[in-house]
Amino acid sequence: MHSPPRPEVPQQGGADPWAAFGYLVAGVLFYGFVGWLLSIWLHAEYWIPIGILVGAGFGMYLVFAQLRLKAPKAEHRTAGSTPTEDRPTNDRTTSDDEAARTMRPDSDDRGETA
């Protein structure tokens, strides 16, 4: 299944794919609880939905913060390893094409001979 050798095995793996779910649930649970406490303290039940929505907002903010953290790093890594290639996954075929084009003997001076 993994017979072709992989060119690069990452030193550290990616993040938890379920982190977004965890952040949203944590936000809703915690700030929903805070809202419930406020609703008891202030005798106003509208603090519960406010807490839930604020918690969902904070959870989403955390998800976005984690994604923002990862995106520029990945870009930097690929740009640093292969500075001239903009498509590192296709580099073999493109370099073969490049090689074939430059190896063709009469491709440059065709205009003169013809």
């Binding site: 299944m1 993994h2 095995v9 990452p10 030193q11 550290q12 793996g13 990616g14 993040a15 938890d16 794919p17 379920w18 982190a19 779910f21 965890g22 952040y23 649930v25 944590a26 936000g27 649970l29 915690f30 918690g55 904070f58 959870g59 903010y61 955390l62 913060a65 984690q66 923002r68 953290l69």
Partner: protein, 276 residues
């Protein structure tokens, strides 16, 4: 059992067909205790015996396929090595990273095979029950994973260092941190094991419930139902769908074992990570 029987009798008196439900997952105890006024009290059920059998079968599979290792592998050795390599390279190395994944390969391989075998028990004839369709078994397995990834983090960074690592989100400005620290803590420490166990449990539970529904419903439609000529063909259809669900369950069993192992590796990797 008396309670179950009572419910069944009532349902049968009312409708004629006993629709399967969570009560079907409360298996009778071998030692005699069962449903009573104190609730469901058990020591040893089919589920716990199957769990032990699952460990034995997983061990035997790996032991037999690796017993006579040869340079030119036999079919069984090839199968075992492919499955082992799948977990070692496809999960452990890819997720934890090539630097320090080796220490966790034994744990991940054992987890994967243990969960696979136990999940597949749900569709093995005569066994037909997956221990992980009882939520307490899934909780136990998730507790093991929770201890491992938190222990790994504490050993790597010390208790205070790991607590800081697990509670302080990176990439956010400082003024908002006090509002987000509880969320990071809840998400990393409390919600992870719950989702890990509930995902495995719910998939096994739902699959088993579907199999009960299609088989008992099909049998009822074929044998007992009267009144309309379409009922018996509907019973045949229900059996056919039940067989299809059985094949789907094979996929679900493998997939859930994969997901469980993958997430375990993710959590270990997250606890080891130098920065967030």
């Amino acid at each position: 059992m008396s309670h179950t029987g009572q419910v069944q009798a009532q349902v049968q008196a009312a409708e004629g067909f006993h629709a399967p439900g969570p009560v079907d997952f409360f298996l009778p105890d071998f030692t005699g205790s069962s449903w009573d006024e104190h609730g469901y009290q058990v020591l040893l059920t089919k589920a716990s015996l199957l769990l032990i059998l699952g460990a034995v079968v997983a061990y035997l599979f790996l032991a037999i396929t690796s017993r006579r290792s040869a340079v030119v592998p036999s079919k069984s050795q090839f199968l075992g090595e492919q499955a082992y390599n799948f977990v070692r390279n496809g999960i452990a190395q890819d997720i934890i990273g090539s630097k320090d994944y080796r220490r966790y390969v034994p744990l991940l391989v054992s987890l994967f095979f243990f969960v696979v075998v136990n999940n597949l028990f749900g569709i093995v004839p005569l066994l037909t029950f997956s221990p992980f369709s009882r939520v307490s078994f899934a909780y136990g397995l998730a507790l093991l994973v929770w201890l491992v990834y938190n222990g790994v983090g504490v050993m790597q960074k010390g208790f205070g260092g790991y607590l800081k690592h697990a509670t302080i989100p990176s990439g956010v400005p400082g003024w908002i941190l006090p509002l987000l620290i509880p969320l990071e803590f809840l998400s990393n420490i409390l919600i992870r094991p719950v989702t890990l166990s509930l995902r495995l449990f719910a998939n096994m539970f739902a699959g088993h419930l579907l199999l009960i529904l299609f088989s008992t419903g099909g049998a009822y439609l074929l044998i007992h139902a009267t009144g309309s000529p379409v009922l018996k063909p509907a019973g045949v259809l229900a059996f056919a769908l039940g067989v299809a669900i059985g094949f789907l369950e094979i996929v679900v069993a493998l997939l859930q074992a994969y997901v469980f192992t993958l997430l375990t590796a993710q959590y270990i990797s997250g606890a080891l990570a130098s920065e967030h």
